[in-house]
Structures are given as structure tokens and as C-alpha cells.
Amino acid sequence: MATPVVDNRQKLLAEILMEKGIPIEYRYGKEHEGVTDREIKNDPTPRANQLKNLYLNSLSSVNVEFPYWYTREWRKWDGEIPIIRRAKSLKAAFSHSTPVIWPGEKLVMGKTYYYRGSFPMPWLSNTFFMAKSDDLYKAALARGGASAGEETKFGAGGGNVTQDFGNVVSIAGKFGIRSEEVPAMIKLAYEWKDKSVEELGHKYEMMVPEYSRKESIMRSIICMFDSGYTLPQGREVINYYYPLQYGFDGLIELCKERKDKVAGRADGDGLVGMDRLYFYDAVITVIEGLQNWILNYAKEAHRLESITDNPVQSKEYGEIAEMLEWIAHYQPRTFKEALQMTCLLHFAVLNEDSISGMSPGRVGQILFPWYEQDIEAGRITKEEVCELLQLHRVKFTCIDCFACSGVVGGVLSSNTFNNLSMGGLNKNGDPEGNELEMLILESSKRLQSTQPTLSCLYDEKLPEDFLLKCAEVVKCGTGYPAFMNNQSAIQFLMRQYGVEGMDLSDARAIAIGGCLETSPCTWMPLTLNGKQYWIPGGAGQPTSVGVHFIANPKVLECVLFNGKDYRTGEQIYPPHNRKLETFEELWQTFCEYYEMTVDCLATTNNIQHDIWRKNSMSVINSFLKPDCLDKGLHIGQLGYRYNATFNVESCGTITMVNSLAALKKLVYDDKKYSLEEMKDALLHNFGFKTAKEVGSFSLLSQVKREDGAKYDKIHHDCLMAPKYGNDDPYADSILRKYEDWFCPMTNKYESLYGRKMYPCQISVSTHGVQGSITLATPDGRLEGTTYSDASMSAYPGTDRNGPFALFNSATVWDHSMSQNSQLNLKIHPSAVKGPEGTRKLLDLTRAYMRKGAFHIQYNVVDSKVLKDAQAHPENYRELLVRVAGFTQYWVELGKPIQDEVIARTEYEEI
């Protein structure tokens, strides 16, 4: 085989950076030879392993059973009060969901009858299917005649259905649907024409005077997505309390009593006082639907019990049936029943809306009463608990979220962000980290999977053995648990929700929603067998809502180019016509454009959410969270205790900081280049081909033009300009300046609930997509390549002074001003090997937390493994990596994000 001829003139960015002594795949410390595997391996029980393997062999699958019955019922009740109509539709959909119990399960139920199933919700969003109906119809017809011999292909893509095969049609390269169901799916989409939240929201958002700017911003992808109809709920903490305390029958009785009290009475509230009757009636209706749903599973368990030859398996089906028949009505009696109850409640909420990031909260503290009493009574062993917790992991890993392709792929990387929090303080300020939480950690170590991801609410008071256990689990390489600063979160909560009555006690109930969203929670009194416990749970609105993912470097680009997006040729902002002669003038213009962005996105998204709360309000999540049942009001009527949850999310913070630092240094302070020269270099991508020409948006793949030498010098200087992450005040002072402006700026904007917004600083996967639409940036980054990840991570290869220098840079500002910050660190497994390595990892974490940082998480992995996995995905179906605030199977990540994770600075020693 002939050796390919290498064209030396077409150098890759990676090679050029290496020549300049700033390799894009930088290692801090001495490089380890060979490939080092992770220290801690999977060790699930056979049962859990069997069910996990079934997941690994499952495709992301969609059916239309739930939306069919929802829509069929909705049609019947035209003219009914919206919340009643919605409740009846939900009841019909739950009551008709086909129950399936997979062999070996002890915890049962799910979103659909597919193992990894989900479904579209056309009442929220339908235009994608209408726009694609011709293509989908054609694909369905073509697939209808396809050979049955065509088989599923696994490997790259994992469970994603990336293309049509057999009688399966791919939707957006992610979900598969049987071709026979495609006509029904499209018919459902058309049935919601002009009625969905998306379409009605669009109709009314166009009445906002600044709407045309919003459209330009969306087309340019300066903003990633509308939150009103894509993911109207999520990144919040669920609350399992009421059914755990009262049982479903008890809740129906409670609602009936409340109905009698409020019927026909405004009780001083002329606006929504009368609505309480309809809310309680709607809650009764949906609970009846949930009971039907549970009892259908019980019936199926009995059927399986009767037809199963294996006596052990048959007995287990019988036990499942008995468990479900009990918890369909009453308070759970055992740990297993309580765990099952939390699972079904979780799926129930997820089926109510398109939701990403519905976090279970502090499960180890919520379920502790049952655990404690079962252990004391000898009803269960720790090993049995550990297996149930592994089965719980499988159940949560199977959760899929059906949203539009841009959101599922570009933002979520197919993840669903069900974040389980641990540690922190209890109501009285004493440390948690209880025995059940230790078992959660152990089970997460034994069965490594994406969900639920784990967060340790780091507090100085936490027991050392608990923190060491957290550090040990990190070494699995799964990236969990992440560490969040409990005290910083408490300060943020008091500041943001104080106006709604948040006190220190409630602030201590904090848990993480979604990736790393500090979420308002509360304590509720649970009584079990006469003993009272205070258990935590969510008490606030979603935080997946508001202005979501502003591409900071792209806004800066528009400032440099007088408001124009050169990628699309569209004038996004009004021309500022300024010469930008000083850094301050540049900065002020950046702030002005940014505020224009937030303003138009806030008003238009407010309208979308307003349509949602009027026509598609939550009933299930509403009745679960305090204080809806007390007030008789749903989420849209401020039924929750805490409602100031809408936020402004940024992306590419450090790319922006580094770019501002380069401009300040090279253009304004040293005057080495004029602004025009800098702009010329950016427009010409520093002499490189465009990402589009190269056919890849990955930073490793960028190729120099043959005639690109003209920009070598300026590119070199931009790359060598001061960079964040090195404890260099020149760059870090810009981060400080930005945060001191950004955080209070967001407070100027108001949600539809009349509450001030706040900053959220995570990137999820948007640094890939938003990087792809951004020209080269003054820090030397090339057009189309990913931004720096997270918000406090250094740009790959630029943090060269070790982790403590990075920590100093990251903590120049007060993290408690923000809902979060995010720092990802990639560590070579050898650096944390053995018990001594575990201790080092904890000490490193502690050092960062003590500086007032909010968050850190680790990828313990050898980059050589990742490279091999990229080349041979078929060998790495189970490889997990930490991306931003989530853990994902390597093979289910897009290449730009894979490249970005490979490129992150690798710490060979700490």
C-alpha cells in the first residue's frame, strides 16, 4: 500500500501550534508513556448488568401512543376550561399507555413501551414535523418496502438512529420511529396547527416591537434556542414529598376537601381565587390517570406471573404487582416501594412536558426514613439496597427526551441531566452524607452510567469519609460526582429568592437541577410509622427558562463589525458607527449590544411562556411542589414557593475574555496592530481555510491556506497574547470586569412572573454549535471551531501554570453572584492513583472550594484512550466522559465536542 504524500503547505492548526510551542493538546506535567486505564471498573450485579446491557443495545425509539390519546381526548373537550381539558387529556394518555416489564426488572415503569423511549408533544412544538412531512412520508413509504433483513448498526452513534433502516425512519438523526406510525405522527402535528405553544407563541411574540431583532439573533445563532416551547420545564428539582407522605388516595381526599372549601369563593383574590376549584379538580383527574397507569402495570405483572415458567421470575412478577397495587393508593411501606414511587413520579412528570434536567434531588436524604427503618427491622440488607440503587441507575439512564433536533443534539448531546444531589447540610445546619448516600456512591461506582449524574454539595462540615468516597468515585472516570460549593449556593439563593421569603433554613435545602443549576428547595415533614423526618425537595420553577445561551464571542464579533454578521451577511444590531478608538469604547459597545440581545430575547420568550402557562400548564409537577396544593394554584399562577427562576445564560466566556485581552494588548495598549488590521485578519481567518471548506468544525482539523502566510505574524501575536487561566492579572482583570457587569446586568430583566432574572454560566454543548457560527476570534481561535468549554475552563492548551494558577484566575470574582460557574479539569489516571491519589483529588477540590469557587468536575482519563475511541468507536460502546455538566457515552457525542474533550489540557500531575 502506497504511503500518502503529505502536502507540507497544508498544515493543520495543531501542527502550527506545536511549532509555536503552544500545542493544542497540552499536558501539564511529565507525559506518561503508554495507555493508562482508569483505576476503578464496572462491577454491577448480574441483574443490573443484564438490564444495563439491554440499554446499551437499545435504540432511541419513538412512538405516538401517548400523543395520540392526549390529542383524541383534547378534541372532545373543546370549550372546557384549559386546565381541566389538559388534565383530562393527560389522564387519557396515561390510562392508555401500554405497560411493559422487561425480564429481570425489580423497579418498573417507564416513559413508553420502548426501553429507551420517548414521544413528540405536538401541543408544544409541531412545525418540525409539518416542515418535514414530505420527507418523512417518503422515507416511510420507502422503508415500508424495505427488506426485513436490514439490520441495526451499532457502534458510532451508540443508540442514536442516525439513518433510516429496515422499517425504521430516522428523525433528526437521533430517534427511530416505525414507518407504519409516521402517518399518524404527521397527522398529529397538523392537528395542532395554529394551536401549539410554538405557533401561538410565535403569533404573539411578533407583536413585540423588537421582534425583528430577535429573529435576526436567532438566525445568526447568537442565541441557541427559544425556551418557551422547546423545554418549558426542567433544570429543576422535583419534589416527591406529597405522594410519599399521603399516598395517591390521600391526595385525592385532600383535593376533594379543598374543593369544597374554595368552590365559588374568591377569598379576597379577585384574579385567581376562583381558579383554585379548577386546579384541585384537575389534580384529582390526573391522579386518577396516574393510578390507572400504575394499575395497568400491576395487571401486566400479574399476566406475566401467570405465563412465566421460571418460578423465581414468576414470584418476582407477583411481588411487583403487589407493590404497584399498594403504591397506586397508599404511602409506601418499604424502601423498595418508596424508590419505585420516586421512579414513577419522575416518569410521570417527564411525560407531562418536554423536559430536560428534571433532577431527583437529594434522594439519599428523601428515602432515608424507609432505609433506616427497613435496615433496623431487618427487612432489607445493604447489598440489596445497593442492587436496587443500581437498577435505579439503569431506569434513569433509559430516560430519553424528545425535543427538536437543535436542542437534543446541539445543546443536550442526547443527555437528560437528571442530577442527584448529595451531602450539604440538613435543616438545622448539621452535615449530611448519610449511610444511604454512601450506598448511592457505591452503586454509582459499581454500575457506571450516564444517569443519574451525581453532585456533591461540598461543605466544610461534611464527614471526611464521605468526601473521600466522592473522590474515589470520580476516579471511575465517569465525571461524577461534580463538586458544588454549598455555602456559595446558599448565598446565591438568599440573594435571589429572599424577596420571596427564602430563609437560611430553606436555602440549606438546596439541590442541583440539570447540569449545575442551583435550585430553590424546601423541607417537608414526613411521618413514617409515627416517626417524623424533614426531607428536602424542589420548591421552585424550572431554571431551563429565560434567555438561553448567548454566544459571547459572537456578540463581540458583531461589535467589531458594526453590528453585522459576516457569516450570514445580515445586519443584526443597529450599526454603532463608532471607531472604537479606546478599549473602554469597545467594552461599552459590547455591553450595549449584549443588553439589546437580552432585552429582545426576554420579552419574546416571556410571551412563549405565557402561552404555555395559559394552554399547556403543568398539572403533575404543580401538585408535587410546595405550595401549589396549599394555594390551589398551578405553576403558571405562582403556585410554587419560589418563582424567580428565569435566567440569562452565556456561552464562550473565556474565549471572549481571551479575545478582549488580545485586543487590549495588541490594539489598544501596545498599538502593535490597528483595529482594521485585526478585523482583516479575523475576516480572513488568520490565513486558514474556513471550517466549511475543511468540512469540519473541529479545532484539530483546521487547515492553513497555501497563501495564508500573510497573517502568520498577527496570528502568532494573538495566540501569544495574555490568556486566562495562568494567574495573570492582565487577562483575569477582564474576567473580573465582565462578571461585575454581567451578573447585575441580568437583574435588570424581568420574567413573565414579574421576577428579576439572574446569570447562569454553563455551556452544556453549545460551545460546539455556537463556535461553529463564529468567525476567527482575536485570541487566535479559528473560524468555526469550538469555544472554550464551560465558563471557568481555560481554552485548551492555554493554562500552562498548573491547576492552582487556574484556580486563582477563576476566583477573581464572586461566584455567589451567579447561579453557577463551571470548571472542567482533565486529569491523567496516574495522577490520582491509589488511596494517596484519592486524597490528592480531594485536597485539590478543597483548595478550589476554599477560594470561593462554585463548581469543579473532573475527567479522569488518558487522552490516548479518547483518541483510540474516536478512531475505533466500535470498541468503546461503554466509554463514559464528562462533557460539561453531564456524563455521556463517548460514541453518542458529536465530533466537535469529542475533539474539544480530547484537546482539553491534560493534567499529568496535580
Binding site: L59, P103, E151, I177, R178, E181, P183
Partner: protein, 87 residues
């Protein structure tokens, strides 16, 4: 409705996993949906097997169990439908 070809997902012994395959509870193994059924086949309630279902076109029909005769589709599983009446 006349059903020409039976698939594994028409059988009560089939435990669906995804759009391509499931587990046969009789054989306890993974099987592809679109392969021939065996002699252990037990009909799963679906709209296409219901007397109330009337086909109106490919993969589409109406449900005559309700006065409004709502549209329906033949592959809908009907194990939870109280109106299911095997043809």
C-alpha cells in the same frame, strides 16, 4: 381489517425493546420485529385486530367505537383500550 403479514410485535409474547427488536418471552432471546412469527404466536390486541377499526388508507383508519369516529392507526397497541373488541 384484513391483516396480511404478522410481525413479532403483533404477538403477546413479544416484549418490545426498540423500533427494531424485542425479547421473545418464550425463547428469552432478542428477535427482530420484522421476521416471521412462530407457532407460539398469541395475538396482541391492536387496532388492526379490532372490530371497531376501519381502514381508510395505508396505515390509517377510523375507530367506530366512539360516536365521533376519531381517526386511528392500525398499529396502535390496544391492551389498555376498554373498547377493544377482537374481530
Amino acid at each position: 381489517m384484513e391483516v396480511k403479514t404478522l410481525h413479532h410485535n403483533d404477538c403477546q409474547n413479544f416484549c418490545p425493546v426498540d423500533v427494531a427488536k424485542g425479547i421473545c418471552r418464550r425463547k428469552n432471546e432478542l428477535i427482530l420485529i420484522d421476521t416471521d412469527t412462530c407457532k407460539s404466536y398469541v395475538q396482541l390486541p391492536k387496532c388492526k385486530f379490532c372490530i371497531n377499526f376501519v381502514s381508510t388508507g395505508e396505515n390509517m383508519g377510523i375507530c367506530k367505537a366512539e360516536q365521533e369516529e376519531p381517526w386511528a392507526y392500525p398499529e396502535m397497541i390496544a391492551v389498555t383500550c376498554k373498547m377493544f373488541n377482537p374481530a
